[in-house]
């Protein structure tokens, strides 16, 4: 079953002479549980594609379907709810909330949804990601690798349909990078988590089930590896 489907997705920035076509009619589907790498040079439109799928940007034209639902047909409020429940976003610079401790950061989407966080799941996930002993720490008291683990934990916590990672290892050293990719692979296998990972790292891309290459806003290669 396809979790994600994009139809003719286009994003244009600027007007007239300044017009930049960041995405140009991108269409593809992603089945449940697939770990997909999106690769391409800088400015090729990878991050734009990820943001459009994650509901944090608006397409100039085209559609995004997650679980069969047209993402951009929803009201602003429902789009926010969609981001809380169906998408987990991991950024290169973690984007943790500095005033909240690790536990609050992880459970934030659930809390914003007005639900009570599942403490058992929190402890299990934190243990798997190796941050169980840092739950009361503030982000500023963590290393880069630990912050990215918190970010992954936050993305996984509400069990989203899609996990979107924008260069998750871009800001980390090689040891931490390896560990983070291991964790992502583990959650893909263990929780059958569908993932889209933007990366420049060929090794990481090769560990994924599928590689989509983008250039000038278009898919130039779509290769299923496993």
């Amino acid at each position: 079953m396809d979790i994600l489907r994009t139809e003719d997705l286009t994003k244009v920035y600027g007007k007239g002479e300044n017009e930049v076509r960041a995405l140009d009619g991108v269409s593809f589907t992603v089945p449940e549980g697939q770990m997909t790498a999106i690769i391409g040079p800088s400015g090729s439109g990878k991050s734009t594609l990820l943001h459009l799928i994650g509901g944090v940007d608006k397409p100039t034209s085209g559609k995004v379907f997650v679980n069969g639902e047209d993402v951009y047909k929803q009201s602003d409020k429902n789009l926010a709810v969609f981001r809380r429940r169906h998408v987990g976003l991991i950024y290169q610079f973690y984007n943790l909330i500095p005033i909240l401790n690790v536990k609050d950061n992880i459970t934030l989407p659930t809390l914003m949804d007005g639900r009570k966080p599942d403490e058992t799941r929190l402890v299990q996930l934190a243990e798997k990601l190796g941050i169980a002993d840092r739950l009361n720490a503030l982000p500023s008291q963590l290393s880069g690798g630990q912050q990215q683990r918190v970010s992954i934990c936050r993305a996984l916590f509400s069990n989203p349909s899609l996990l979107l990672a924008d260069e998750p290892t871009g800001n980390l050293d090689s040891k931490n990078s390896r560990e983070i990719i291991e964790l992502l692979r583990m959650s893909n296998k263990e929780f059958r988590q569908t993932m889209l990972i933007i990366t420049h790292d060929e090794d990481i891309a090769l560990q994924c089930d599928r590689i989509i290459a983008i250039e000038d806003g278009r898919i130039i290669r779509d290769e299923v590896m496993k």
Binding site: V56, D76, K77, R83, L96, I97, P98, P109, L138, S140
Partner: protein, 772 residues
């Protein structure tokens, strides 16, 4: 043009919104400093001028010779001497020597003594000449060591105010620079990574400050001068000078000395430079990559509010933590708002307190007697200058004066009373009073005869018996002083079983008014200093006591504690038989509530009316004091309100600055929250709770400050007054605090929405990318 100047100019032009905001902030800061300095200068010069108008000399020396006056004139410390000779009422020649000193005199009194007291005089034990120093004028002209010391004291108090204003001004300018610079923090990082030195980055912001100040400082000075004029004019138009210095408002001088304006400009410029330097250094000190990535904000500890967390869920928790994430910003905001709250509370409390005090003394007969606002006398036939004892009144004279004064529009009561001796056997009095009377061997009562209006007035419209029932020798017994220990109901515990009483009224008259049937041999008499003899004459009075009453607002200052009140018609009957002994020709004139509301106009009208009556004089005017107090209250209120507004505006500007900076600094974080699923409603809720928190925390801090302050003021300045006197309280203006909460909260909300408005235009990813 240097690289720094060029970039500063380009930033000013390209960031129009921030440039305007910074100009406004500097303008506001200059305005506040200008207002306080110019108001100080204007009130100082006005006092100087008013004192000069009252008496234009520094000292007057009495009864010295022309030669001695010349000695004074020859002193290097004396600028001018006026020697006046005149004949005293006893026919002696006397002199007044008025002197103006030069500004460099040390001590005028010592100078006069040194110049006019010779060693011979000392040896002969002759006293030094008497003199009077016009210290007030010397004080305001800053002449003499004492005046300079006084000035230091006054200026020290003023400086506390100036200091508060200057600190607030610093907050405003500092925050404005932080906001405008924060948004281009990344650009400074890039410049640094390209090789710009710390100095160059700081210089860019410094040049910006200087260029913007060129517009802001003159604007602030102009606006500050204008606002100072409005405040000054409003205070002077209350006629406070007339009340306290007895000079017309023309003596007021609006003074805007260049040196004060320059002081305001220099202070503001220094603050601008310090703020610009501080902001520049904050950025320049950070590693360029940190600035580019905006990873500079390190939060190691954040306090959270459990109450907000419970009430507002995650939104409340986030808001409470945001409020306290930056301690400095939190403290500045809370302190500036609390300051404005506290000042408002204190000043409104003082205004309320002075109002209460005025009302209290209006209602007591100690200062402004409620019995009458004016005491007038009718002295017909050109007898205005004669003593009351030299007058021969008839009942018709008395009624004529009554008619004349009634036309003034005031309620008029003839001062018609009998001092009556009553045998102890006739009235059983309150034990304490009875003891007193026993010591004297007789009981003496005041028996007063009131007209219907006044009768109702003293019982606040609820007399114990209707006025009509007094006719025919019936009396109400009541307290005649609020301060009497004697309770009215207990005054007369029992009187003759049938309620009747009889007594002898007495009055002293001059020898020439004695009648043949007066038993002059047996009458006690006394003589005044001119040798005139006064005789006691007496008459009989009988009546019935029909009720006990309580007059609410005191009565005469007699010690007896009780009085009998009868009706005017009965008095006329008694007076017909012996008007010589009863008719004083005095009238109480009382203003009604409507007249008291516009008391100045009424006072003018009454005085104008009475001055047009040939035979009537007002010889006691209690309204003057009332007017003076009201003028002082008005002037004080105008000044207080102006200061409150200025302080509140400072608090508002700071709050708006800080809330805007807080939100703009958190753009990426807010975008992250939205990416994680925060709705716009939740985002707005969060920021609104932040605004509300500042207001509520400041309001609580105000209450915590003002409670002990009110207690302190009460203990220090208010206690010691008689029981029942008003207490200084801050409880009355709680409503005022709530009123200020509204603009503070609304300003915060407006700042929030203005700062968040940009977020709606961009998508979340654009918002994050714009920063990154």
């Amino acid at each position: 043009m240097s690289f720094s100047q060029k970039l500063a100019g380009k930033y000013i032009v390209s960031q129009k919104r921030h440039s305007v905001f910074t100009i406004l902030s500097i303008t506001a800061a200059v305005l506040f400093i200008t207002v306080i300095l110019i108001l100080f200068a204007s009130f100082w010069d006005t006092m100087k001028n008013a004192n000069r108008e009252r008496f234009p000399w520094h000292a007057t020396i009495y009864n010295i010779s022309a030669e001695e006056a010349e000695i004074l004139r020859s002193s290097e410390f004396v600028a001018e001497v006026e020697y006046i000779t005149f004949q005293s009422t006893s026919g002696e020649m006397q002199s007044d020597t008025n002197v103006l000193f030069t500004p460099d005199i040390h001590d005028p009194a010592t100078l006069i003594r040194n110049l006019l007291c010779t060693p011979e005089m000392e040896m002969n034990g002759e006293p030094p000449p008497a003199f009077l120093i016009n210290q007030q004028l010397l004080d305001f002209e800053l002449i003499g060591i004492k005046a300079k010391a006084n000035f230091v004291t006054v200026f020290s108090v003023l400086y506390i105010f100036i200091f508060i204003f200057i600190i607030c001004a610093r907050f405003i300018i500092d925050t404005a620079f932080e906001i405008s610079s924060k948004e281009r923090e990344m650009q400074f990082g890039i410049l640094a990574s390209l090789g710009a030195s710390r100095k160059q980055i700081v210089r860019i912001i410094l040049w910006e400050g200087i260029i913007l100040s060129l517009v802001a400082i003159p604007t602030g000075i102009l606006l500050g001068t204008g606002i100072s004029y409005i405040i000054f004019d409003s205070v002077i138009s209350t006629d406070i000078l007339l009340s306290f210095l007895e000079v017309e408002r023309t003596a007021a001088v609006f003074s805007a000395p260049f040196v004060y304006m320059a002081a305001a400009a220099v202070t503001a410029l220094i603050w601008v430079m310090l703020s610009a330097y501080g902001t520049g250094m904050r950025f320049a000190k950070k590693p360029p990559v940190e600035v580019i990535r905006r990873s500079g904000e390190k939060i190691d500890k954040v306090k959270k509010s459990r109450i907000l967390g419970k009430l507002g869920g995650i939104v409340g928790t986030l808001a409470s933590r945001n409020v306290r994430r930056n301690k400095k910003r939190f403290v500045i905001t809370v302190v500036s708002i609390t300051l404005s709250f506290a000042l408002t509370v204190i000043m409104t409390s003082v205004i309320d307190y002075t109002d209460d005090v005025v009302k209290y003394y209006q209602d007591s007969d100690e200062y402004i007697s409620p019995r009458y606002h004016y005491l007038a006398e009718y002295r017909p036939n050109g007898n205005a200058d004669k003593s009351i004892f030299d007058m021969k009144f008839t009942l018709e004279d008395m009624k004529k004066g009554y008619e004349l004064l009634e036309a003034s529009g005031c309620m008029v009561q003839m001062n018609s009373f009998l001092s009556c001796r009553v045998d102890n056997n006739d009235l059983a009095l309150h034990s304490e009073i009875a003891d007193y009377y026993e010591a004297q061997g007789f009981a003496e009562l005041d028996i007063k005869y009131y007209n219907e209006d006044y009768y109702n007035y003293i019982f606040s419209g609820e007399p114990p018996v209707p006025y009509s029932e007094l006719r025919g020798g019936n009396y109400v017994v009541c307290n005649n002083s609020e301060y009497s220990d004697c309770l009215p109901g207990e005054c007369v515990v029992d009187y003759k079983t049938d309620g009747s009483f009889s007594g002898t009224f007495t009055r002293y008259v001059t020898e020439d008014t004695l009648r043949p049937d007066d038993d002059a041999e047996l009458i006690e008499h006394f003589s005044d200093e001119t040798g005139r003899k006064f005789y006691w004459v007496s008459g009989e009075i009988k009546g019935n006591i029909v009720a006990n009453g309580t007059r609410l607002n005191g009565g005469s200052d007699a010690y007896t504690g009780i009085e009998l009140i009868g009706c005017e018609e009965d008095f006329f009957d008694i007076a017909k038989e012996d008007s010589r002994n009863l008719c004083y020709g005095e009238y109480y004139m009382i203003l009604n509530e409507a007249q008291l509301r516009d008391v100045e106009r009424t006072d003018r009208a009454v005085n104008e009316y009475v001055s047009g009556l040939e035979d009537v004089v007002i010889w006691m005017d209690n309204v003057d004091m009332l007017i003076n107090t009201q003028r002082f209250n008005r002037a004080f209120t105008v000044l207080s309100v102006a200061i409150i507004i200025l302080i509140t505006v400072i608090a508002l500007i700071n709050e708006v600055n800080i809330i805007s900076t807080g939100i703009l600094n958190r753009r990426r974080e807010i975008a992250s929250l939205r990416a994680l699923g925060m709705t716009k409603g939740q985002l707005t809720g969060m920021t609104l709770i932040e605004c509300g928190s500042y207001s509520v925390i400041s309001a609580i801090a105000t209450l915590l400050i003002c409670e002990p302050l009110a207690l302190f003021i009460n203990t220090k300045f208010v206690t010691g007054q008689e029981a029942g006197a008003p207490q200084f309280s801050y409880s009355t203006p709680v409503f005022a605090v709530l009123l200020i909460l509204i603009p503070i909260f609304v300003a915060g909300v407006a700042a929030t929405f203005a700062s968040l408005s940009g977020f709606g235009k961009n998508s979340i990813s654009e918002e994050m990318r714009a920063i990154e």
